[in-house]
Symmetry: D2
Subunit: 349 residues, 4 copies
């Protein structure tokens, strides 16, 4: 930490800061400039937070130097992690050596629609099935998901197709039941800072797919992952899904740079959701290609056998020729960037 | 709703849209332009949503015309509402005729600190006490609040000072206990889109203070209020607390225009939180003055007897001369904009 | 400046930074932490910029500590400045003791419309006339202003009504002719970073009204003012006019906090433009009240005798009852915040 | 255009709108809903703009339906365009069939540094040389470029290496001299809305590289291109270079989706600048790969033989192993997305 004194700070002001820092066992290095004095703090950063240094007389600013997250940082865990998703006997990796394709319907509507979507996904090369039984919707008047019956459908379709299943949980009270049916819990963008939910997911004993809050910085996103990790669960996969900006032509702006930025600071795998980022079917294929090329550990997309009747996000669901085009990209591009298909690495022990 | 066809849409494409709309009992008015055709839809807007019109061939865009919220809209409820906060025998109004000043510590730390803060608040003219027992923190390593013991302290101090109490609830599972101790439930900025929590708060039988999500549009904020209202609770007070922008000199950017914008479209009261918006003590007084002048129904600010030792947001807490300056503004400005002090309207029946 | 080394930086890396700093005559204070080393730099900050410290091996980050602007800073110029606008014999102040009301049509269309607008403005209490002869328009097909004939009209109306005139200049080549006709040059939001124009305006010998870029930070805005000041012209008035955010209900988001933030760091006067910030007539009066209450040194608004036929920004122009309401606010609110009407301070020497 | 009436609009209000529209030769189709009436306008959209429909009584909102740009739109120009850069005898294409790699130093500092940078660029596969002789800098105290001597160096190095040259022009007054030395004029992000400069560039008879304003919507960017096109110059190449968002870990946020969005609506080529978007050397290679994969027509990057001494943007300049990695990506990825190296298509007639 660095404390920047204001130009009119007195020697007493500086001494007071030093005394407070030393009072909690820290060291304070004072650099007196012509205009300002700056004080470098060395020691336990958590103890410095409680000092409220910004409130002290003569203090102009306080700069944090270190990253605030620990368990998800690469600092003490240099190798990037692989998260395995699935039941014993069949686990699919998401990590630095492979490329994982996740697909499925935005919402589980019926057993037929879910099965058909899963078969489309699988034929296109997907190795993990996505689908929503609980939908967080901006409007209380919109379809909110089937709930437990939806989970049952999803689990059945997962078993029938041999695909592990990831599904969203929106309320801490639902975590146990969702964890019973699903192979991976998804925390959605609107709940990234729902700390009770993060902790419940951390306790559930299943891998977690943590979407970035549409208005969260990368640091806040990693802090949310830290909440899960702190409960002893390091099987967290991050998912970039677009951030809110002033540009109206896409629903959100896919922050493609977030992938290498996260990989430089955290050991957790990171995938990309081009469907929700753009909200436009015609952008899903080019953005998926960009995600693979930038080095993402996977992509997750919406598919639906009949987007016209979909109960949720129909305009972004792929089918037909676009899905074939995506399947081709998923086959051809990962080897160019040094990755193998996750399907070839499935762990069957 | 208006459906905009793309320039290359065929007559069949137009006919298909019309048929779908009529299929759910709506009327479709077709306007054929030189370049494009537009179709105006009349009828039940909710039924149109299920049509996924954007996925139909030849459709370029779909514009929503009406507001998506109903219960909180002024359309069928032209008079602006007053929400009464407090137990029987002593209720303080927040509404269009009065100006209400809410103040207290960011977090409840001890009984002494809470009482002292409450007395500071009351002397400065506050008629409702704020204070947090559950704190949603970005870091799992930061102080998370005292929980139930904090609620007990708060209720006791409220009784001792005669001030109704508002406090935040961050988890749907905590709503019953918070509603037992508090006179008003606060939903914080990070939970504005936590729909399970909104519904639980709507069921709790107490007024709700709904902060704007720091990255929510005004429409999304009103939709969050609609979630509460839909549970039969129309005692919702909105609170503008700054939005996330690119400007780094304040923690968030206070969207002062949100006050008249909300008042034009919703009948709910709306107040302003300059402390959390700016994160800077030196801006709280000028921003409070701006809030009163723009026509807010109240302001809510942080006060603390010793910001240097505060466990939460010390740098923005007022005391001493700044608090006196604020007290003066709260006395002198509301009459200029046609409002009386809420304290003079307390309902004692 | 503070240089933060990465955790794996070597002693040689640190020594290299120190050597580079000392090579340009600076001093480097090294604070070795458990995880990282930080180096505080003392000396001439401009010389440090040329060192490209961020490119050196082992350097993780470089924090600037001081403000990058000098001439417009309060650091060596603690008293806030007053800028006088007008010809000899009649100059209107904009500064800390007064409140100045500027009004007029968005664009000069005809002599009649300009005169009528000026009379409306004057009756409402305005002491400076605004009006555009050169309009920067997003579309090349929109009305671009009358040019020199517009300047002539404006100067004539200014003389007829006794109001000094401020008008926008959009091209460095036009600065001399605009400076000939106008009492104050306006640099618009789209040209805030047009450095050649800023320098030309700085050379013109007239006060400058510098609007904030709609996507500029406050620091960048002050750096733009520094460009003008560096040419020897310190008669710069800043104008907050809204920033671009994700909120769609107003054209831009008025950053009301910018007023006290600027006043804390710069000695230049700062006014507010609620018309262009909101783009909505119904918000101009409440936002003007907020601007006065927050402590702005003035407001500038659009008025037009017939908004329905205005060639530019008709929907935000005031007339009739709204203008009377604004006139009342302009009379009653400034004294509450300790300011007198600029009209009473006119310098006639 | 669609006019949305407010719920309380009267029949007279509707009739007035219809009369105004018909008065300028348009047709108005009225759709009366239960709550609101909407009016679809058909005819010459430019004439409707002058009606100021938003100011009419009873009008709640006006939605534009068509794109405001014409010459740069794909609507009447379905095939995507190729722009040829260079002197007679050697012209390099930027367009839909090829992939063009542009590289060079951020600023021209000396003849040696420029030549060395150009040789690095060429060895890595670049076919067009970039380099700045005029630098728009946020600070008046930063290096502003060499001016005409810089142009001379650049032209000489271009000739020596056989690479066409693109360089920025920041002032309309400099357009003639820059056009004399350079093969392509660059309009930078800060000048995207400098309409006088756009028009001067449109008149200069050379291709223009138009960077996106860091806070411009895609529509505004295309309107800026329309300004150039309207002067008879359709040789415009668009360049996405990052937009301003709340995310601090990169200088700007590369809006990778802008590439396919632009390609869907405009026939102009579009390239990507990952160096300025991210400001981080370590992100240039992955972002370049993403740009190629998403379908960009080219990338433009900063290279410098000695970033430590660079006078501008050293921290983002590539050299050594990173440049070799980029060279490899530029060779291997374009064929996967169906493009050939622009160098193989050089026009020598």
């Amino acid at each position: 930490m660095v404390v920047v004194m204001s130009p009119d700070a007195t020697d007493e002001d500086v001494a007071h800061v030093v005394a407070r820092v030393e009072g909690v066992g820290g060291e304070a290095f004072v650099s007196k400039g012509v205009v300002r004095t700056i004080i470098g703090l060395v020691g336990d950063i958590d103890s410095f937070h409680h000092l409220n240094l910004r409130t002290l007389r003569g203090v102009a600013d306080v700069h944090r130097i270190s990253d605030p997250y620990k368990l998800v940082s690469r600092q003490h865990h240099a190798d990037r992690s692989t998260v395995w998703v699935g039941r014993e006997g069949r686990q699919v990796p998401i990590g630095p050596d492979s490329f994982t394709f996740l697909a499925g319907p935005c919402a589980v509507e019926t057993a037929e629609q879910t099965l058909e979507s899963a078969q489309m996904a699988k034929s296109a090369g997907a190795t993990i099935l996505r689908g929503g039984a609980y939908k967080p919707r901006t409007s209380p008047y919109a379809f909110q998901g089937l709930g437990v019956p939806g989970l049952e459908i999803l689990a059945g379709v997962g078993e029938a197709t041999g695909l592990p299943v990831v599904t969203e949980v929106v309320d801490a009270r639902d975590v146990p039941v969702v964890a019973e049916y699903a192979d991976m819990l998804q925390i959605g963008t609107r709940n990234m800072a729902n700390f009770g939910l993060l902790q419940a997911a951390g306790d559930a004993g299943k891998p977690v797919l943590l979407k970035r809050g549409m208005t969260a910085t990368i640091e806040e996103w990693l802090m949310a992952a830290e909440y899960i990790a702190q409960r002893g669960n390091l099987d967290v996969v991050l998912c970039e899904r677009g951030i809110r900006t002033f540009e109206p032509s896409t629903r959100n702006t896919l922050d493609i740079s977030a992938v290498p930025v996260v990989q430089a600071t955290s050991h957790l795998p990171v995938i990309v959701d081009p469907s929700h980022a753009s909200g436009r079917k015609d952008l899903v294929v080019p953005l998926s290609r960009a995600a693979i090329a930038v080095g993402a550990d996977g992509v997750i997309v919406d598919v639906h056998p009949d987007p016209e009747t979909a109960l949720c996000d129909g305009p972004q669901a792929l089918l037909g020729s676009e899905l074939r085009e995506l399947a081709q990209a998923v086959r051809r591009l990962p080897p160019i960037v040094g990755r193998v298909d996750a399907g070839s690495l499935v762990r069957t022990v």
